[in-house]
Amino acid sequence: MLQRFLDPTVLAGISGLDLIARTVVDGFVAGLHRSPDFGFSQEFAEYRAYSPGDDLRHVDWNVFARTERAYLKRYRGETNCQLTILLDCSRSMKFTSHTIDKLEYARYLTASMAYLAKMQRDAAGLIVFDDEVRNFVPPSTRQGQLARLLHAVEKAEVGNRTDYEKPFSHVREFLHRRGLIAVISDFWEAPEQVVKTIAPLRFHGNEVVLFHVLDPEEIRPKFRDPALLEDLESGATLEVSPEYVAKEYPAKMDAHLAEIESRAKGAGLDYFLIDTSRPLDAALREYLAIRKGRM
């Protein structure tokens, strides 16, 4: 039943990103028929003296054999996977042809990934950008990190036009530790430029995944009449005919998508195209697959 909450149109009716994230992830996990601790491995943290009432299963009998004192082994989540989400909030992300726009969809995805990371004790961080870095939450496993992330996601508003060059050079300064970097954007830029800007993140040993968020109307626009189009970011206008939109635009768009995927993979970046009318689980599955590869 929870699977239905993965549908973005259903999620749009839920207020509060934390609840959305929880709903998505619980629904997603329930769909996997696995434990919520999927991919979780435990790591020794410290010893603690036994006190009456403690579970005897956790007593380290080797230590007891050596010292004749009972100590309990304590564990903690593995935290050597650091997730950094780069969320594009340029003006083009505001576009929608149905219930939710691309930015909203990206917010759900970001919140869900952050929640999933918290469940796996991963350190999660967030960078919101358009042509500048608008917000930065450093990756951490501290108490309240999820709330900080969700607050930052909630606060993310559409800004100006996208410029990958400037913010990504800053991002490289922020990231000191190896980890997983998820870039959520509509990538309305020449594929060559996109890959050229993002690929350096990979040089530090990071796994980079590009979530290419697009509205179905962007992939296959449907115009019955000639229309005057205005570019959301530049404000330029152009009168286009339905014949062009029906025949030539899809071909160009398909070529663009193929090129960006090809160039991304050629640069060692994972690429995943997301249609905002589709449920979120495919994107989460992609994230987990990559996350698993890092374990």
């Binding site: 449907k222 019955r224 000639p226 229309a227 189009l229 205005e230 330029a236 206008t237």
Partner: protein, 679 residues
């Protein structure tokens, strides 16, 4: 071409709407936001050009549609010559045969004038002869048969009706519309002023109608018995008063002798001074009438050429006071007292109240009573209700008074309406109820002053499915209901007569109310006046009593109805002076006195200038300059173009729909795209 309503042409400015839609609006297309234009190119395809052509066609059709609509409302017409150009015209010869034409040899002179007109017609000329009285009577069809036309003129006999030139004008307008040719009307009449309609517009003649007058009268002095007021029924001959009015039209002051006759016997004679051109009242006291109907007459000594209006017929009936049955179960003694006193005080003493208990009344012969009152009965014996129903069906009348006693009954006796509840004027609301809705024109409620000031504290709520509500209280409870059953009728009063549930019995409207109710119910069926003017109608049956024959004997003693008419006719018009013996379908007999309309006695003619104006209404020359009719000739008639414009408009509307449909329908590639999406 002209327009009947040219101001509607201003509606043509509505063409601005399609201009805005097609030309202006197109340049103000709202831009559609799109994330990036990096894959778009400017290209104006052939389909856009094609669509623009479609737009222009659609635009033209829409503009044309609006223009035609404005034109349709402006009602354009063209003037077309009528048959006048061929020299054809219709001659109408109208002869006045109203009551005033009995004066001297007026009618003979009128007929001579008519024959002269017919003699002047050329062979083949179309003509029609009509007679004018209360109604216009066509004596011939439109024909060129001279013999038939002359015979029709010869057959005209004087009548007793009143002439109406308004009716004549209406007939001529209809004729003009039907014949579509110029009409020449020759009116042979005494042209009485009293024959004019109330409004001059009613005299309007159709265009191309020429009125030629042949006056046969002139101012003449005339005395007449203008009116007589006599009681319908005489119960006590000594208390009877007969009032008459003697009028003189164009007369000098004179002394006239007025005589009262009854059944041809002279009873009283008085001398009265009639002022110059004025009126004088005369009153006769006492009328020694035998039992039954009597033929009365008030007559003055004749001193003018119109002697027939020197007498005035009236009819009266000598009868014993009729009995009214008051059925009471003894619980409301005061109600009987109030009702009896009001009945005695109500005038001529024509009713005598008899009170019986319900069980005794069940065995009484109800046909002996003028009407029956059921006073708040808590139970009605079955045989009493049965005999009441028979009594009402046969023409009797029942007044059912409802109160706390009747509230226990499921239905109102005889009226057969459900008793629903009892309405009280509660302490929390109004302290009393009043009458707010009343049919004050109803005979039973004519003099009750709308029950002003009467307070009702309780009323029985009765449903009014089959009955007519004559009066309502302010909480919408029906107060007085009426239902016609068979030949009779039933009234139900939903409050009591005992000064407990209301204060009506101690109110000023009580006695008139009882008097009117008694007259209305005691008359049996619809109470018809016995003294009527000529051309009045007498009702012969009220219900659906098929099979029962009615009978009417005219002044000459001949039957006026055939056997078939006797069993089917609902009423009959009395078209001449004299006494008519009427037996209605319910078996009730009456003697009706019919007298001519005394406005006919005023022989003063219409002023010449008024006649000139009347003649001018039919001529196109009389229309104001610049008027819609134009002055293109008397023989031209406006010919409306609206049917053709309407047809054209419908055609354009269909074309617009087809073009608009083609424009809105998706092209073949778009349809394929839609199919793919659906799949």
């Amino acid at each position: 071409m002209g327009f009947f309503t040219p101001w509607f042409l201003a509606g043509a400015v509505a063409v601005g709407l399609p201009i805005w839609l097609h030309l202006l609006k197109r340049h103000k297309t709202d831009p559609k936001l799109f994330p990036s234009l990096m894959f778009f190119e400017f290209r104006e395809t052939s389909s856009v050009k094609h669509r623009r052509l479609d737009h222009l066609l659609l635009f033209a059709l829409r503009v044309l549609m609006l223009l035609l609509l404005a034109l349709l409302f402006a009602s354009p017409f063209i003037r077309r010559s009528t048959a006048a150009s061929n020299g054809k015209k219709l001659t109408v010869v109208a002869i006045d045969r109203s009551f005033s034409m009995r004066d001297g040899d007026r009618l003979d002179r009128a007929k001579n004038q008519a024959l002269q007109v017919l003699g002047s017609l050329r062979p083949g000329d179309q003509a029609e002869v009509i007679a004018l009285a209360g109604q216009v009577q066509a004596l011939t069809q439109v024909t060129n048969d001279s013999a038939a036309l002359r015979a029709a003129v010869a057959s005209v006999q004087p009548g007793d009706s009143r002439a109406s030139f308004g009716e004549l004008a209406r007939y001529l307008r209809t004729l003009s519309e039907a014949q579509k040719m110029p009409i020449e009307v020759h009116l042979a009449s005494d042209l009485q002023k009293s024959a004019m309609p109330p409004g001059f517009a009613d005299l309007r003649l159709a265009p191309a109608t020429t009125l030629v007058l042949h006056p046969v009268g002139g101012a003449a002095k005339n005395w007449t018995v203008e009116s007589v007021v006599a009681p319908r029924r005489v119960f006590d001959p000594k208390r009877v008063k007969i009032q008459a009015t003697i009028a003189g039209f164009g007369t000098p002051a004179a002394k006239r002798t007025v005589t009262l006759l009854l059944n041809g016997r002279e009873l009283q004679s008085k001398s009265v001074d009639v002022p110059e051109n004025g009126r004088a009242p005369v009153e006769f006291l006492g009328l020694d009438a035998p039992y039954g109907f009597s033929k009365g007459e008030v007559r003055i000594d004749s001193a003018d050429s119109l002697a027939i209006d020197d007498r005035y017929y009236f009819s009266t009936e000598r009868a014993d006071p009729r009995k009214v049955l008051f059925i009471d179960d003894g619980r409301h003694a005061r109600a009987e007292l109030y009702f009896r006193v009001a009945l005695d005080a109500s005038g001529d003493g024509g009713f005598h109240l008899e009170t019986l208990r319900p069980d005794v009344a069940a065995t009484a012969t109800l046909a002996n009573y003028a009407f029956v009152v059921l006073n708040d009965l808590s139970s009605v014996p079955q045989n009493l209700e049965g005999s009441l129903q028979l009594y009402v069906n046969g023409g009797g009348s029942v007044l059912a008074v409802l109160g706390p006693g009747s509230a226990v009954l499921p239905r109102v006796p005889v009226l057969d309406e459900a008793i629903q509840a009892s309405s009280y004027a509660g302490r929390e609301g109004d302290r009393f109820l009043t009458v707010t809705d009343i049919d004050s024109g109803h005979p039973a409620l004519r003099s009750v002053d709308r029950f002003n000031g009467v307070k009702f504290y309780q009323a029985i709520h009765v449903s009014s499915g089959k009955s007519r509500v004559l009066a309502k209280l302010n909480d919408q409870t029906p107060l007085l209901l009426e239902r016609a059953i068979g030949e009779g009728k039933v009234l139900a009063f939903t409050s009591t007569f005992d000064n407990v549930l209301n204060d009506l019995p101690i109110h000023a409207s009580w006695v008139p109310f009882v008097a009117q109710i008694a007259l209305y119910l005691g008359g049996g069926g619809a109470e018809q006046s016995l003294n009527l003017p000529v051309d009045s109608y007498v009702e012969l049956r009220t219900g659906n009593s098929k099979g029962a024959a009615a009978e009417v004997l005219g002044p000459d003693g001949k039957r006026m109805l055939s056997l078939e008419q006797g069993v089917t006719a609902r009423n009959i018009a009395l078209d001449r002076e004299g006494f008519f013996e009427v037996k209605s379908a319910s078996g009730r007999r009456s003697l009706v006195a019919v007298h001519s309309d005394r406005r006919e006695s005023d022989l003063a003619p219409i002023p010449a200038e008024t006649l000139d104006l009347w003649k001018g209404t039919g001529s196109a020359d009389s229309t104001p300059a610049g008027g819609a009719a134009g002055a293109t000739g008397a023989a031209d008639q406006p010919w409306g173009l609206w049917p053709y414009i309407l047809l054209l408009l419908l055609g354009v509307a269909v074309a617009e729909s087809v073009v608009a449909d083609g424009f809105l329908r998706p092209s073949a590639p778009q349809r394929e795209e839609l199919k793919r999406e659906a799949a």
